[in-house]
């Protein structure tokens, strides 16, 4: 009995470290879940005379997708977003984060534009307000303007199927 103690301790340590390996330290829990979406008023990418505001989206369930043409991971998630708006009734607002306007437009011409509207965050100030630290990031905002979910890193099809779409459907059924 006594001699099995080190083995038990070792096994516990292996389990502890094993669990640690499955966690992603880059995923910092967002303090925004359940909080009102920070308001912004930014120029539109395709209509720089006019602005888009967080408040404009009140009463709708919407996605905010933070992206940039320099962001490699954004490229891999882009077709997933294209598919999402093609197949479902959902508006995605793009937040073009610290990007060159012309490069951003070129990027969308090449890969398609899933966004209902794109806000230009040239200096990254709005990004800071939303706690953005790793592009791409995707937020789901409910009808009351509360952030309900945040996806850090590229959205994959399995995220859409398992988490994002079920949540959107649930939120769309809530009364506004």
């Amino acid at each position: 009995m006594k001699s099995s103690l080190p083995l038990v301790l070792f096994a516990l340590l292996v389990i502890l470290l094993g669990v640690g390996l499955t966690l992603d330290p880059r995923e910092v829990p967002s303090p925004f879940i359940g909080k009102p979406a920070p308001s912004f008023e930014l120029a539109k990418l395709y209509d720089s005379e006019n602005t888009i505001r967080t408040e404009d989206m009140k009463g709708k369930v919407w996605l905010l997708n933070v992206w940039a043409s320099w962001c490699v991971a954004c490229r891999s998630e882009h077709h997933v977003l294209n598919q999402l708006v093609k197949n479902h009734q959902i508006e995605i607002i793009g937040l073009n984060y610290k990007d060159d306007v012309n490069k951003a437009k070129q990027w969308l011409e090449e890969l398609g534009n899933p966004y209902a509207n794109i806000a230009v965050d040239q200096d990254g100030r709005t990004g800071i307000d939303w706690g953005v630290y790793g592009v791409p990031e995707t937020f789901i905002i409910d009808k009351h303007g509360i952030i309900r979910y945040k996806n850090i890193g590229p959205v994959e099809q399995k995220d859409i199927d398992n988490t994002i779409m079920p949540l959107i459907i649930q939120l769309q059924q809530e009364s506004s």
Binding site: D123, G124, I128, G131, Y133, G134
Partner: protein
Amino acid sequence: MMKKWLGVIFLMLSSIQLQAAIEIYQFEQAEHEQLYKQMIDELRCLVCQNQNLSASNAALAKDLRQQTYEMVTNGKSHAQIVDYMTQRYGDFVLYRPPVKSSTALLWFGPFILLFAGLMVLIITLKNRKQIIDEPLSEQQKTQLKQLLDEDDK
């Protein structure tokens, strides 16, 4: 031979971490400058997670230094800046997180381990002492005598 060593030295030098905070900020008040330096040492960069804002050259760290600078020169206090950052990035942004239930293990875990280690040490030492100190019982004494006598025969 010489070439090889030069190569080694070059590799060692090129891996030295560069001091990243290269922007030059002007401060009118010494307290502001001091607070700014304190803040960028205490705040963690979320991109390079093992670096603080002052050591990181990630674009986000640069933006956050700029933000910190503006807040400091606008007369914001240490607590106000910490509030601003944690509202956006959570406690993770602090290298010195507040003591609360979610960070309890982080704060007290090392002491629990230290205590457990001390207990193991004390118990081990105590057991060892007992082995040495315990006087022989009468029965053991007679047994010992018998054994020694047997040897003599």
